[in-house]
Amino acid sequence: MVVDVRGLHYAVGGRPIFAGVDVQVRRGRITAIMGPSGTGKTTLLKLITAQIAADRGEVRVRGEDLAALSRSEIYALRKRMGMLFQNGALLTDMDVFENVAFPVREHTNLPEALIRKLVLTKLQAVGLRGAAELMPGELSGGMARRVALARAIVMDPEMLIYDEPFVGLDPISLGVIMRLIKHMNEALGITSIVVSHDVRELATIAHDSYLLSGGRVAAAGAPEQLRASDSPAVRQFMTGSEDGPVAFHYPAPDYAAQLFAADES
């Protein structure tokens, strides 16, 4: 077990985000964390990467309880992780090459020639060796995400975390990113956590999946099992239906009363 989350409780400003969540990520597998917008998928990633601390419950990564780790121990743990941000989060004052070289320069004293080879190898893996000298502002969304992926794998992490990797991509870029996630897992054996609400895409690459809803795990299992679920909440999410436990409308006062009140005033 690479990540073991048990009995997780977390609230923001008194509003509970998680009320007893259990998630297990097994070594060498792709685990999907799914759920409607606002269910705390990204918050779960922040908890797993120790950016924030749980109110209650336990988050263990590689067997270590994050709450008990010092700052330097957390940094040591993070060196074994890579994370792909939704917007790439490339450092805008460096070109593509330097962005990918950044973690290597920070954590090793490798000679320049070796860094160059390492960076070019990773850029080749994401198909952007030719873009090494471009600045982040010159890249498309899909390219930026691929550069961020090259940066995430440059230190050969054991675990890769993807935050909404498919959002806003054209079909070609989406296909490329999906293939890369699968490739990283199969060829390099990297344990992967993919947070997304793109059910169809996830179903083709994930081994295990969790559906978060209302602060709890609404369903867990292989993507096919989730699709076959007879729970209304799970079925609504998997089929993208408007009708179901998750309401389309944000809670509001009576529609007609509000319209007439506006007329009277």
């Binding site: 950016q51 940094y75 941000f85 917007n87 989060a89 450092l91 805008t92 920070e106 961020a148």
Partner: protein, 254 residues
């Protein structure tokens, strides 16, 4: 009757001051490691210093010219225009150069620092560093802070020199004060203590303005409005603190 509002305001002020103090201590802790990356530091001195040169030089020239003009007008009423060099030099070195440089620094380099760091926060760049096990305080904040601290005295010195040249331009070239008297009076009455006062002020202003700029950017709300607000706060807080510290330091040097 309760004065809860007043208490809340004071508490919030103390809390903010405490937060800035803790940030400063952490920043100082990261300065030594940042010094080991001279390339980053030189880049930040260039950003905060060299890029402010034109505005500093232009302002220095005009402030010096105005000083020359006003000084001449004042001194000629008492028949002592010979003292123009001294008056201008003391005014510039001890007071105007460090203060005006700090105000201009807050407006040009300070805002640039705050918005850059704030946008790095808003676009997850600082979080990405954290995840890559790189402390953004060491890599982003400390070099920028140090760059500002080093740049401020250099800019102040340049402001003073150009200001003296501007005063000489008006006093000597335009108003006809004797060139030899202008410079010899200055040389005779301006001591090392006066220069030191100006330089100490510039270092203190450098620390204060850079700290405020970096702190505001680092803790900016990660939205467009949040970064804008942080940038405004940098200018306002830096200006007020500069003028306050100026009074304290002037009183201390007397």
């Amino acid at each position: 009757m309760s004065n809860g509002g007043g208490d809340g305001f004071i508490l919030e002020g103390v809390r903010r001051l405490g937060a800035v103090a803790i940030f400063l201590v952490r920043l100082f802790g990261e300065c030594l490691p940042a010094l080991r990356r001279p390339r980053l530091l030189v880049h930040q001195i260039y950003n905060a210093g060299a890029r402010s040169l034109i505005i500093i030089m232009l302002s220095g020239l005009f402030v010096g010219m105005v000083l020359g003009l006003q000084g001449y007008d004042l001194l000629q009423r008492f028949g002592s225009v010979d003292a123009l060099g001294t008056a201008v030099a003391l005014g510039l070195l001890k007071e105007l150069a460090p203060v005006v440089t700090a105000l201009l620094f807050a407006g040009r380099a300070g805002t640039a620092l705050t918005s850059e760091i704030g946008l790095m926060r808003a676009t997850d760049q600082l979080t990405a560093m954290e995840i890559m096990a790189v402390d953004p305080l060491r890599h982003v904040a400390a070099p920028r802070f140090l760059g500002g601290v080093v740049a401020m005295p250099l800019l102040t010195a340049i402001f003073s020199l150009i200001g003296l040249y501007g005063a000489q331009l008006i006093g000597v070239q335009l108003m006809g004060v004797d060139k030899g008297v202008f410079w010899s009076q200055m040389q005779g009455s301006v001591g090392l203590r006066d220069v030191t006062e100006g330089m100490v002020k510039s270092v203190v202003f450098g620390i204060a303005c850079s700290l405020i700029a970096v702190h505001e950017g680092y803790h900016a709300e990660p939205t467009a409005a949040g970064v804008g607000l942080a940038t405004t706060r940098t200018v306002v807080a830096s200006s007020v603190i500069t003028l306050l510290l100026d009074y304290v330091l002037t009183a201390a040097f007397l």
